[in-house]
Structures are given as structure tokens and as C-alpha cells.
């Protein structure tokens, strides 16, 4: 190239000095030709597009939704021998770069080069002029915040062009496609809320806007749902195990053998004496260290079951010990052995007494699943934490609170009803066995009242109808005992 240049110069100067302007024209034409010829065959040396990605803007999801603000990140490497002075990126029709701000990063390896630039956006393209040429081999990253993809979704590629320091313009390779989700009905509802004046007024209050932003509440409900299912799943899966384990340790603790008692006391005290949070950490980080790898959700169920079992053991123990000594003696007088006494006299009565406390413990366990979020179980709290981090708003926590309350409030109500029923029946309220005929409709309920007598019958007639009795015993607390006026008996209602 330089050789040709020199030849032309010498010829022009030595022979026809008057034709200098003409020659200069020819010369520049030749230069352009040479330059293009030099560039065309070596397209490998041109600027390459490394990738283009978009920040997910779906609340709680990983999708990119069209017609909603997101951030486009485009990365390219300047080819050899080039110096890039400007880059233009464009997206298909419908995308918009209006109101977008562009952050420019130029890197040489891992080191930042201090090159700045100005970005001008118009419609679906953005043009970035750099303050100085970007040297060959540099990595250029453009982060365009608050741009929007077209509303109807699909796969979009970022195309564009760049100019080199010598004024040449070249096309950029298309980026890999970015998948954009069409605006969902949920998103449409959010957009509708966005447009409402009352929503704007509501959100302008710092407290309401921070804690109960309607748009976010709506999207939070949708995206927290899987987390809620995980919470429910964990606590429902763990509770049967917790009850069985708890009952076993309650038996051990009330056992006559010193060693068995010691084992139960150690188990119960260790688990009740340490925070659940600590137990979760020990199990989740300790077990894998000794080579035991269990699925996060399953391990969550195990930890919750073990923790709950200790509390349940104490509840059951207290329940068993609250049954008056007379019941044991009565059972013994009927000729029952220890096992029979336990299963048909003591435990059915215990179950009735402990149901409110067990329900309360269930509520506690359900709420405590939130602690599992700290070790990466994708439950309700984890989802809302992520949402709050990305939105910078407390509303997702409020949505989570509502999800917790959906379960706990009815349960709390149930506990109240059971407690009332038990209190009433233990005070002597409710129909008497003698008045069964009078009570009529409450026959089912009155069964519970006679359960001592019933179980005594069972022991005589052995397998008479144990299933029905167990059901009656278990369901007794849930069935209301209509108060029957017994004349002289004042039941304090």
C-alpha cells in the first residue's frame, strides 16, 4: 500500500506538476480502493459482537417482557488494526430507546480504559460516539438502561454498525436472539393500574407506596404462588413424621427406664434449647461436608420434622401426664394391660387435650419454614426477598404476609373453637349421656362425651367398632357440643 502510494507521488511530481489536483484526486481514490480491498478479505479482523442480553424484568421471573423498561447489554470486541469511533445499535421496529441512558465500559483485558462517550437515542436505534478511538482488541460494553422491547414478544436480534477512526462504516454481526415474552394479562393489569390516577395518589404516600403498592402486590401474588406451595408442601410433609417422632419421644420420656428417659431428655432439650435457624445451618452445611447430599426440599422437610418433633414430644408428654391417675386405675380395674390402657384410654383423651397446642405448633412450624430461605430453599420468603431486592419495595413482603395469614388465621380460629368446645365439655357442659334421646341431632357429638364408657365397652367386646370410636375421639373437639339446659346445672355460659 505504501509502495503504490510512493510510486504515484514520484511520477506525479517529476513529470506533470500542473496536474497536481487531478493526481491528488486519483491518489485519494486509489487510497480508498486499497483501504476497502484491505478490509474486505480480512473480515475476521473486523469488530465482533460477543453477546447481547437483556435484564429480566418479569417480577419474580426470569423472562424479558416487551413494552416494559429493561436494560440491554451489548458486548463487542474491536478487531485488529481498527480504531472504533462510534457504534450504532438497532432493534426491530417497536422497540424503543427513548428515555434510555447508556453506560459505556471499555476494557483492555480486565482493565478499564477511561474512554467516555455520548449516546443519542432515537426510536429503535441508539448511536454512541466515543470521546476517542477505541484501540484494537478492546472489549466494549454498552449498557442501555430503561429501553423497551416490542410489546408483542418474539426473538429479537441486535444489529447495527460501527465507524472506524478513518470514517469507514461497517455493519456489525447480528447478536444471538433475545427472547422476549409478549405482554401478559397480568402485565396488562399492571399497566392498567399504572394509568389510574387513584393508584398514583395512593403510591405518592410514602408509606402506602412502600408497603402496599397495588401493581407490585398484584405481580407479587402471582410470582409468590410457587413459593407458597413449597411452604405448604414442606410443612404438610413434615408434620406426620413430626407427630410420630414426637409421640415416640413422649413415650420414651414417660418411660420407667432411666436410659430411655435420658435419651428422650437429651433429644428434646437439645432441639428445644437451640434455635431452629442454627439447626438448619448445621444440617444444610454440615451434612454435605460429610458427603451426605440430600435434595434441599427433602432436607428442609427433615429439619422441620425433627425440630417440630421435640416440641410435640413435650406437648404429648404434658397431655399424657394430665390424664388423671384415676383413669389408669379404672383401666386396670377393667383388666387392661399397660398397652391397652395407653392406646384405648389414655391416648384418645390425650389427643383431645393436645389438639389446640398441636395446632399452634403446626402454625409455628408453617411460619418457621421461612427460615429455610436462608439456605436456598425456594419458598415463600425466598421469593419475596428476591422480589424486594429487585424492586426496592417492601410490598412483596406484605404479599408474603397475606399468604402466611391465609393459612394461619383459619387455623387460629379453629384452635379457638376447639378450645371452647373442650373447655365446655370438661366443665360439664354439653349433653349428658342420659339425655341422648333429648339431644337427638347431636348424637354424633355426644359420642365423644361417652368415650370413656365407649372405650370400656370396646375393651370388653374387643374389636367391636374401634375405627368409629377413634374417629369420634379425634373429631370430638371439632364438633360443637350444644349446651342443653339441665335445669339446676349452671354451666357458666
Amino acid at each position: 500500500m505504501s509502495h503504490m502510494h510512493e510510486n504515484a507521488m514520484t511520477r506525479g511530481e517529476s513529470h506533470h506538476t500542473r496536474r497536481l489536483p487531478l493526481l491528488a484526486l486519483a491518489l485519494s481514490a486509489a487510497l480508498v480502493l486499497v483501504a476497502t480491498m484491505a478490509l474486505l478479505p480480512v473480515s475476521a479482523l473486523a469488530m465482533t459482537t460477543n453477546k447481547a442480553t437483556a435484564r429480566p424484568n418479569e417480577d419474580g421471573g426470569s423472562g424479558v417482557i416487551g413494552a416494559m423498561d429493561t436494560r440491554l447489554t451489548w458486548e463487542g470486541t474491536v478487531g485488529g488494526d481498527e480504531e472504533v469511533s462510534s457504534i450504532t445499535l438497532s432493534l426491530p421496529e417497536g422497540a424503543t430507546f427513548d428515555h434510555a441512558s447508556t453506560r459505556i465500559t471499555v476494557l483492555d483485558g480486565l482493565n478499564r480504559t477511561s474512554i467516555d462517550g455520548t449516546a443519542t437515542s432515537s426510536g429503535n436505534s441508539v448511536d454512541v460516539q466515543f470521546s476517542e478511538g477505541i484501540p484494537a482488541g478492546s472489549l466494549v460494553r454498552l449498557e442501555i438502561t430503561n429501553m423497551q422491547f416490542p410489546a408483542d414478544g418474539g426473538d429479537y436480534v441486535v444489529s447495527g454498525s460501527y465507524t472506524t477512526a478513518d470514517g469507514q462504516s461497517h455493519a456489525l454481526d447480528d447478536s444471538a436472539a433475545i427472547t422476549v415474552i409478549a405482554n401478559t394479562p397480568l402485565q396488562a393489569a399492571v399497566s392498567w393500574l399504572d394509568a389510574q390516577p387513584w393508584v398514583a395518589a395512593w403510591n405518592s404516600n410514602p408509606f402506602l407506596g412502600m408497603f402496599f403498592k397495588p401493581q407490585l402486590l398484584l405481580t407479587s401474588f402471582a410470582s409468590l404462588f410457587p413459593g407458597w406451595l413449597v411452604c405448604l408442601g414442606i410443612v404438610l410433609a413434615c408434620y406426620p413424621f413430626a407427630i410420630v417422632l414426637g409421640l415416640a419421644f413422649a413415650m420414651l420420656k414417660t418411660s420407667r427406664h432411666k436410659v430411655l428417659r435420658a435419651i428422650a431428655i437429651c433429644y428434646i432439650n437439645l432441639l428445644r434449647g437451640t434455635p431452629l435457624f442454627l439447626q438448619i445451618y448445621i444440617m444444610f452445611f454440615g451434612l454435605p461436608m460429610v458427603g451426605i447430599n440430600i435434595d434441599n426440599n427433602v432436607l428442609g422437610v427433615i429439619v422441620m420434622a425433627v425440630n417440630s418433633s421435640a416440641y410435640l414430644a413435650e406437648i404429648f408428654r404434658a397431655g399424657i401426664q394430665s390424664i388423671p391417675q384415676g383413669q389408669y386405675e379404672a383401666a386396670a380395674s377393667l383388666g387392661m394391660n399397660g398397652f391397652q390402657t395407653m392406646t384405648s384410654i389414655i391416648l384418645p383423651q390425650t389427643v383431645r387435650r393436645v389438639i389446640p397446642t398441636v395446632t399452634s405448633d403446626f402454625i409455628t412450624s408453617y411460619k418457621d419454614t421461612s427460615l429455610l430461605s436462608s439456605v436456598g430453599v425456594m419458598e415463600l420468603m425466598m421469593f419475596s426477598k428476591n422480589l424486594t431486592t429487585t424492586s426496592g419495595n417492601i410490598t412483596p413482603y406484605m404479599a408474603a404476609a397475606i399468604y402466611y395469614l391465609i393459612v394461619t388465621l383459619p387455623l387460629i380460629k379453629v384452635v379457638g373453637i376447639i378450645e371452647n368446645n373442650i373447655a365446655r365439655s370438661e366443665r360439664g357442659g354439653g349433653p349428658r349421656p342420659k339425655r341422648r334421646a333429648v339431644a337427638g341431632a347431636s348424637q354424633q357429638a355426644s359420642k365423644a362425651e361417652e368415650e370413656l364408657a365407649a372405650s370400656a365397652e370396646v375393651s370388653h367386646a374387643e374389636t367391636a367398632k374401634p375405627a368409629a370410636d377413634v374417629f369420634a375421639a379425634l373429631s370430638a373437639p371439632f364438633v360443637s357440643h350444644p349446651t342443653v339446659d339441665l335445669g339446676g346445672v349452671a354451666d357458666g355460659e
Binding site: R55, T105, R112, F285, S374, N386
Partner: protein, 280 residues
């Protein structure tokens, strides 16, 4: 007998003391803006900034991000690159530096935005457009990058990690967190509260990899997690800035001036050399 007090007198005296202390406390806070302005009114009175506590630059950070900020094993005091930087900044401004108790990283920017508790937050916070919507940042004081950390000998790459069966951990609210959601959309991103818990999780195989700031990855891997390896350095060229409330623009100016002075008089270089062995 003159010197001794009856019990009633003592109670009265104590009450009076407590009362005056409360009054003094109130007085202190109400005059805080005026007294800080005397600190800086050498130039002009509109350059004054407010501080949570007079004469003190109150700093909040997540103190589990070595070598930028961490608690000393013995004393429990914060130390690290950022701690040295903010101490030097405070010194240039003629202030004492005081750290608030450790806070979770994702609460730092909201805390500064809300104001009233801390003046500045320096915690290797990358300046992003999104965060700039909530708070102001000082001029950048350090450049950084991201890294993917996995078990030594792991065959994971950026491509293999982008799979539904993979769990990639990060510290919640960090740029690493953003990077995962944007660049590994198929993997499950698990944000946790602290780096040590995350790295322990990677070590035990609970998670496949972690994305964290490169200097932190390097430091943690040399000092405590020798069985982990940096499988990929992600050139992000992000820059750390000091977060300051938007309501306090003059404090940002003053911090920027201090940073500039530190760059020109070599303080910054010596802090960089102290923590990274060379200037960056």
C-alpha cells in the same frame, strides 16, 4: 454531713441530671446542621452538609466482603481496603469515622436512600444506573470485575452452568446476582446473605458455582477456600463508588474532593498497594 445527700435529694439530683442530658441531646441534634456548616464554611455556607452525628462520618457496610471490609478476628473492628479509604476520606474532611453494626448488603442502598441512620455507605458497591435512581455516588474509587468460582477441577463453564439443573449462588442484591439472572437465565440463581455461606455451599456441593467480585474471589480463595477455583473471570469493568443520600449533595461534593486529594497526594496508591500489592 454537708457532702452527703439524703436519698430524696439524690433522686432529685439524678432526675435533674437526666433531664438536662435529654435536653442537651435535643439541643445537639437541632444544632447539628449549623455546627457542621462551621466546619466547612471556609468556602461558602451553601457548601454545608448534614451529618447524622456531629463531627463524625457515620458509615454503614456489609462487613463480610474481604478484602474490602471485614471484621478483624480478634478485635471485631472493621478493616479492609474500603475501611482505609473511608478513614482517609474522613480524615481529609476533618471528621471521625464511625461504623454502624454490620448490615445485609441489599439493605445498604435503601438505608442510605431513607437517610437518618448513616451518612455514607462504602461496601464495594458498584455504581449502576439502577442504584443511581435511589442514591448519589461519589466518583468511582476502584475498578473491579466479576468471577465465577467453582470446585477445583470442576468442568463447569459459563455455558454448562446455564442449565435448569444448576444452582448458582451469589450474595443477594449484588451485581453478581444481576449477572446470573441476565447471563444464566436457565440456571437457578440462589441469593444468600453472606459470601462465606455461599462459598461454603459451593465447597460442599450444595451449589454448582458462585458469581462474586473478582478481588473478593481471589482473596477468599487464597485465604480460606483453597479447594475452590476461579473458573472464569468476567470482564465487567464495573466501578465502586461511595453511596450518599440524594438529599445531601454537598456531602457528595466533599467526599469527591477528599477522594481527589487522596489520588493526587498518593494516599490512594498506598492503600491500594497495602491491600492488592500494587496500584490498580
Amino acid at each position: 454531713m454537708k457532702n452527703s445527700m439524703s436519698r430524696r435529694q439524690f433522686i432529685l439530683a439524678a432526675g435533674a441530671l437526666a433531664g438536662s442530658a435529654v435536653l442537651a441531646g435535643c439541643g445537639g441534634s437541632s444544632t447539628s446542621s449549623s455546627s457542621t456548616s462551621t466546619n466547612t464554611d471556609s468556602s461558602a455556607s451553601d457548601d454545608s452538609y448534614t451529618l447524622v452525628k456531629d463531627g463524625t462520618l457515620t458509615v454503614v457496610a456489609e462487613l463480610g466482603f474481604a478484602p474490602f471490609e471485614y471484621m478483624n478476628d480478634q478485635t471485631g473492628d472493621p478493616e479492609g481496603f474500603d475501611v482505609d479509604v473511608i478513614n482517609a476520606v474522613a480524615e481529609k474532611m476533618g471528621l471521625q469515622c464511625e461504623y454502624l453494626p454490620n448490615q445485609k448488603f441489599d439493605t445498604l442502598v435503601p438505608l442510605i436512600k431513607q437517610g437518618g441512620k448513616a451518612d455514607v455507605s462504602i461496601a464495594a458497591i458498584t455504581i449502576t444506573d439502577e442504584r443511581e435512581e435511589s442514591v448519589d455516588f461519589s466518583e468511582p474509587y476502584l475498578d473491579s470485575n466479576q468471577a465465577i468460582v467453582a470446585l477445583k477441577g470442576s468442568t463447569e463453564t459459563e455455558a454448562t452452568l446455564n442449565d435448569a439443573s444448576k444452582q448458582v449462588v451469589c450474595q443477594g442484591g449484588t451485581t453478581g446476582n444481576d449477572w446470573i439472572t441476565e447471563n444464566l437465565p436457565n440456571a437457578t440463581c440462589v441469593p444468600v446473605d453472606d459470601v462465606t455461606a455461599a462459598l461454603t455451599g459451593v465447597q460442599t456441593g450444595l451449589y454448582n458455582a458462585m458469581v462474586v467480585d473478582l478481588p473478593v474471589a481471589k482473596y477468599m480463595l487464597t485465604n480460606s477456600f483453597s479447594d475452590l477455583d476461579i473458573i472464569e473471570e468476567i470482564a465487567t469493568g464495573e466501578q465502586y463508588g461511595i453511596a450518599i443520600s440524594k438529599d445531601n449533595p454537598n456531602l457528595t461534593k466533599a467526599v469527591n474532593k477528599a477522594l481527589e486529594d487522596m489520588k493526587s497526594d498518593g494516599t490512594m496508591d498506598s492503600i491500594e498497594t497495602k491491600w492488592f500489592g500494587s496500584t490498580i
